[in-house]
Symmetry: C2
Subunit: 160 residues, 2 copies
């Protein structure tokens, strides 16, 4: 099955400890949002292709939380956070920590904007604790996980 | 009963959307921390003296959430958030929204540092989404709630 892959933009916001990620999808906001809250769908797309995702918790609701493990041949990478607000088909605000840096926390906001033709623009904003933390995240190879994750989300939304 | 009140420092961090609040208490970290997670204690000190706090939810644990209402003669002020991490007697990371500005979110980190003589230094860091949001919060009269709240916490810790 053919899937159209769109360009993902990952950019630092000048003078603020913020990373902004913009990506369009060929599905309406309701479906893109659903793929962020339904754990069976999340497991199929989140993160790089080479990693397997094991979910310990995924309560994607206002005041909920999550915890998951990404595994490859080299080991395990554990992540956790809380869902500040889950506003259906519109907005998700959550926290994010990689347990390798247990005191590092980001506040992430995702907005789901309806475009013409039943399409969606997803804008993700990661608010970090310092310019240094922002730049370390940008230098961490995060773009592989973001790009491959969104390609896998394209495939899921295309029904493949 | 006499209670010693310490000075509270509230300061913007230059060039970052961060407010830092520093305050010492005449009680060890375990007791100051407990007054942040035990809802019956929280209700007795959080916020300005003139307001009554009604708590809809206070699950102060990693991945938990909270929701409360402050009421005075003029009306109600509603707040909610999630607990990203609750690390006993050491650190609390939570989100914060005033429902009057439903899209505004801060990420708040509190650290409980043991001082000599069974005392504690509490450092609170509020990470806001922009310099403008930081300055609006500083201009909102927040210092009344912080100062009076911590005076009430002094009184609670002194056993009065």
């Amino acid at each position: 099955m053919s899937t159209t892959t769109h360009e993902t933009t990952i950019a630092a916001v000048p003078d603020l400890p913020i990373i902004r990620i913009t990506r369009e999808f060929d599905a309406p906001p309701e479906r893109v949002f659903d793929a962020h809250v339904d754990v069976e769908k999340v497991r199929r797309w989140l993160g790089p292709r080479r990693l397997t995702m094991t979910v310990q918790r995924w309560d994607a609701e206002t005041g909920g939380g999550y915890r998951y493990t990404h595994t490859d041949d080299d080991g395990e990478y554990r992540f956790f956070g809380s869902f500040h607000e889950v506003r259906p088909a519109e907005r998700i605000v959550q926290t994010f920590t990689f347990e390798g840096f247990p005191d590092g926390v980001c506040l992430e906001t995702m907005t789901f904007e309806a475009l013409e033709g039943g399409r969606t623009r997803l804008v993700g904003t990661s608010l970090c604790e310092s310019i240094e933390a922002r730049d370390a995240m940008l230098a961490s190879g995060m773009e592989v996980g973001v790009n491959e994750g969104y390609e896998q989300l394209d495939e899921l939304l295309a029904g493949s």
